[in-house]
């Protein structure tokens, strides 16, 4: 960074430089230089396009992957899978099991820089509630990766599309990011909040006035049920037996795409596997699990719960907009819209929670 840039942002504050932010404009070429410098310390992850890997023929998947240039970042649309897989992988080895020995795998020591949107930054706060705060002790596998993470906010000046409802969930704004970026005509506008990143800026960086904007309205109207009224409806009026859930029982096919695409779904199942060639070698792994998916509650001996898919929709919905709030004081759902964007039956979670609000109003 050149002296002029520093001067512009540090003079006149009377505060220490570390409290200052650095705001610059970079061409893509300059931004690639920035990424190159950062790559010496960080694995840099962003939504990338995986050609032909989409759900249907000739469609692409957009998922988190390591990037080396700005051009790889898919910024115009929502990543299909959320960034949670960076810190909470789909499948993760907990132990290598060799004869009587159990060894933790050595993790990747590099720090992580993740490009993501405000809703997903809030999503990580929900994952933190479960993995770091719920129960007696933090989850060490999550904690070790999580403490390496810095967030780069991908600015959303308005809702990305019709599925977003971050404003309703109160997750449209954030200041938990180390850096924010706006894509503008082959240029990046950057606000750096974390002084540890300042020195990575190229000397040619041009100072600019840029403060990230946040969406002020959702493109759909979503109404969050009042927790006290919902509690009353559940306890006094048997709300879990309301006919609205029977509708979901008919339509949900229990594929679990809402669970797997959700940034806050954190459930997993542990499995042991043995090497077919060397039966005394194996692994203990944890793999994503989802409350919509068959066998989620199955116990050895044959007992199971929520056999109908309407009960699963109800269970998930209650967790996202009621139970979690009872436990942690904020809703689990962050309104990213992925569940609705990916449901093959076109079920809408946003409509579901709005419908609950309407039922509560009708019943008084």
């Amino acid at each position: 960074m050149n002296q002029e840039t520093l001067d512009q942002h540090e003079h006149g504050s009377g505060e220490t430089a570390s409290l200052e932010m650095c705001r610059v404009r970079l061409s893509y070429k300059e931004a690639d230089l920035l990424l190159g410098v950062l790559a010496s310390q960080y694995r840099i992850l962003a939504p990338v396009r995986l050609p032909g890997r989409g759900r249907f023929s000739d469609q692409d998947a957009i998922r988190y992957g390591e990037i080396h240039s700005v051009g790889e970042i898919v910024h115009q649309e929502r990543a299909h899978f959320s960034p949670k897989e960076v810190v909470f992988p789909i499948s993760q080895t907990l132990f290598h099991l060799t004869e009587d020995e159990m060894h933790e795998p050595a993790g990747d020591p590099r720090d992580l820089l993740i490009f993501l949107r405000a809703c997903d930054i809030h999503g990580f706060a929900r994952l933190d509630d479960i993995f770091l705060r719920n129960g007696l002790v933090p989850d060490p596998y999550y904690a070790r990766r999580r403490e390496k993470v810095k967030f780069v906010l991908l600015e959303c000046r308005q809702s990305l599309d019709a599925y977003c409802f971050c404003v309703a969930m109160g997750t449209n704004r954030t200041d938990a990011n180390a850096m924010a970026v706006r894509f503008a005509d082959e240029q990046l506008l950057i606000e750096m909040r974390d002084p540890a990143l300042f020195s990575a800026l190229p000397a040619t960086a041009e100072p600019v006035k840029f403060t990230p904007e946040f969406p002020a309205t959702d493109s759909q109207t979503v109404s969050i049920p009042d927790s006290d009224r919902l509690q009353t409806a559940i306890r006094a009026r048997n709300f879990f037996a309301h006919p609205m859930w029977a509708d979901y029982a008919k339509r949900c096919i229990a594929c679990g795409r809402c669970n797997t695409h959700c940034v806050t779904c954190s459930c997993f199942t542990t499995y042991d596997i043995a090497d077919a060639q060397q039966p005394l070698a194996g692994e203990r792994r944890r793999v994503w699990a989802g409350c919509h998916i068959d066998r989620f509650t199955d116990m050895a001996g044959g007992h199971h719960f929520r056999d109908d898919n309407g009960s699963r929709m109800r269970y998930k919905t209650m967790h996202k907009i009621f139970d979690f709030h009872q436990r942690f004081g904020r809703h689990m759902c962050v309104g990213c819209g992925r569940c609705d964007a990916h449901c093959p039956e076109y079920l809408s979670f946003a409509e579901c929670i709005t419908r609950i609000s309407h039922v509560l109003e009708e019943e008084g």
Binding site: F95, N134, G135, L136, T270, R284, C291, S311, M318, D323
Partner: protein, 263 residues
């Protein structure tokens, strides 16, 4: 950071078959868990399963295990001297100090007897602290009866009622579901009763209803819930009911809380 998923080896001291499919394993273990707590037990390369404790002793604990899946089949293949891998104990056990002073009523169905057996043994060992101990036990058939020796011993000290769903050769006891035993029970003084109900979901539901019908308040009833679990640490999500996690908030709940837990 110590890894809470890392289990510790526990040597099998003794193996005692209880029925054709249930076997008690005595394991060397130094730090005694509380009655009602559970461990995550694993056989490397087969998996982990949450298992409750059926006896707690000096330098050992016992688990009574039914052969019903991959992990338990692996456990059944082991011999004394072999090692199981344990982490825990997890969860809240039964509130023994709160139960002391009461007239204790235990209703257990099938393998649900395993986690309450240490409670019964505590109450009978400290008889002077209880107004009495009534034990209702239900099994599917006479062949499914667990802990025969222990039950015979309890019959010397407390009122024990055993019923089986299906009678069999030589069975002279009661036949029928456990709830049929409740209407005739002496529950006086009613306000001094503390009831512990553990068993399969339907058995627990109807036993609790029968006790409420007899006039017990909800807060006089304690239940222990069994749910699928992968972690025991409040992370994996399988055992969540409402805002509660059975592994860390339970598995023992007062029924005044448990009544609102809807799966």
């Amino acid at each position: 950071m110590t890894n809470p998923y890392q289990p510790q080896p526990a040597t099998i001291l003794e193996i005692r078959p209880e029925t054709a499919i249930d076997t008690t394993f005595r394991l060397a273990w130094d730090i005694p868990p509380a009655p009602g707590q559970f461990f995550e037990v694993s056989v490397p390369r087969l998996g982990e399963a949450p298992i409750s404790i059926s006896a707690i002793g000096d330098g050992y604990l016992e688990m009574t295990i039914r052969k019903v899946g991959r992990v338990t089949e692996g456990i059944f293949a082991l011999q004394p001297g072999d090692r199981l891998y344990l982490r825990g104990p997890y969860g809240h056990g039964f509130p023994l100090e709160h139960l002391a002073g009461s007239r204790l009523l235990v209703a257990a169905g099938g393998t649900g007897l395993a986690p309450v057996k240490p409670v019964i043994q505590y109450a009978l060992a400290q008889r002077e602290r209880f107004l009495g101990t009534d034990i209702l036990l239900g099994f599917r058939s006479p062949e499914d009866m667990l802990f025969r020796e222990a039950i015979a011993d309890w019959q010397q000290h407390g009122a024990v009622y055993v019923t089986v769903d299906r009678s069999g050769p030589g069975w002279t006891g009661h036949t029928g579901v456990i709830t049929q035993l409740i209407p005739a029970l002496d529950l006086s003084p009613l306000e001094q009763i503390q009831a512990v109900v553990v068993g399969p979901p339907l058995m627990m539901k109807f036993t609790v209803l029968a006790l409420l019908e007899r006039g017990l308040r909800e807060d006089q009833i304690w239940v222990s819930y069994e749910r699928r679990m992968s972690c025991g640490l409040g992370k994996c999500g399988h055992c969540k009911i409402n805002e509660k996690y059975v592994c860390v908030d339970g598995p023992v709940f007062n029924f005044s809380d448990a009544r609102w837990l809807i799966d």
